[in-house]
Symmetry: C2
């Protein structure tokens, strides 16, 4: 395995490949071509091969990839061979919707406990059977269940305070649905989910194309089908410029 | 304004700058330094200047940026000077949570109507007063209200069918909470929100650091604070390789 830095976009694409390989395996497909796998992730086959090349040599020229073996390797790279236990902090509408979202358990993410700071939420049993706990229980639960991942879905003004608490309890990764920045120590990662930033990328494109006029194909009355879509991609190349703050 | 291609990451950062400028303006701040604005977006000032340089010249050396003027310019670039009317398709837990999410209206996104294919949802009044409508009304509502943006939060197996319907009705941008790929014609953009792909980026980092051992600083007993976090970034550099499909 080469030592060079893996682009964040490659990691995202590995997730996309991994999901598709899982579906193929479930269907009993044994071998997949690089072009099919690349098509699924909306990249060209050269990009797929480059992505995989960071981690070794895969596939047989002219034959393709062994589905089970490649799935196992990619799952290993992503740390997805085992289930991940997750705590949710924030039992509001977004938090509750996430708990009920089938994709988490399908991908091996198991919500072990739900916490809130709001006394009107605490003690309430949510759909699925988890009972909203007081944040006072957070350190004990994280330690007892050896949890490293947290989903943060609290109001923005509470985000930093609760992120600090999560970090103190040993959490190493936070999926943050709050729209404010949070600061975490080195060794802890935060991934933001900001719906409206994603909408802004769409309004930008729409505004640009409204300004530039219709697409050539549309103008010519020959609509062509493209595969324009965007996977969420992580921007992680800025860490090295991070300002060092003392706590 | 230069004609070169604007990186998707730049557009994401413009959104981040825009939000921060809005907060500054609300606080009555007139001028902001490039280092402060860059810090907020977790980039270095050179990156900020590069991002802005795609769109012209801004700021006064040694003084900074005029908050109101830069906000107005960036909002214009992103197409955010006016409100955007949005339709939501899918009145399940995620859809309902999005409707109640204050960030949308704060950023000028207004949910005009909610649709579902499920007869048990149709006719129900949701919190906020919108009534779930039958998909049969979709073409009329989109046309009457001149809507270009849709949020898609239906089960994955319905995603393509409803995306086709949205495109037929004239929708130009889709924020897609379904975990399957959807195909759209050229001129229509899709932005995916896949929570578990974002979690995978965290498990990758945790797995890597577990393998590599503790961070140097942590080993030395001197925890340093970094600013590691990731804004969601759009991957749009693959469109030019898109396979052309006939509909």
């Amino acid at each position: 395995m080469r030592k060079e830095k893996i682009p964040a976009a490659t990691i995202i694409r590995l997730s996309v490949y991994q999901r598709y390989l899982k579906r193929l395996l479930a269907k009993g497909v044994k071998v997949v071509s690089s072009s099919e796998l690349a098509y699924e992730a909306n990249v060209n086959p050269a990009q797929l091969r480059k992505d995989l090349s960071y981690f070794g040599r895969f596939g047989v020229r002219g034959v393709g990839y062994d589905v089970a073996s490649l799935l196992n390797t990619i799952s290993g790279i992503l740390g997805l061979l085992d289930e991940w236990r997750v705590v949710l902090v924030g039992a509001g509408p977004i938090g509750q919707a996430l708990l009920r979202h089938p994709q988490f358990s399908r991908q091996g993410y198991v919500f072990e406990a739900v916490f809130d700071f709001d006394p009107t939420h605490i003690g309430r049993e949510l759909e699925g059977g988890l009972v909203v706990q007081d944040l006072r229980n957070l350190p004990r639960v994280i330690q007892e269940k050896d949890i490293q991942l947290a989903v943060l879905a609290v109001p923005s003004e509470k985000a930093q305070e609760i992120a600090d608490l999560l970090v103190d309890c040993g959490i190493k990764g936070i999926l943050n649905f709050c729209t404010t920045r949070i600061r975490v120590p080195r060794g802890v990662s935060v991934q933001y989910v900001d719906f409206t930033i994603l909408l802004d990328t769409l309004t930008y494109k729409i505004s640009q194309s409204n300004t530039e006029g219709m697409d050539e194909h549309v103008k010519a009355g020959k609509p062509k089908w493209a595969r324009e879509h965007s996977w969420p991609v992580v921007q992680s190349n800025v860490q090295k410029q991070g300002v060092t703050l003392t706590s």
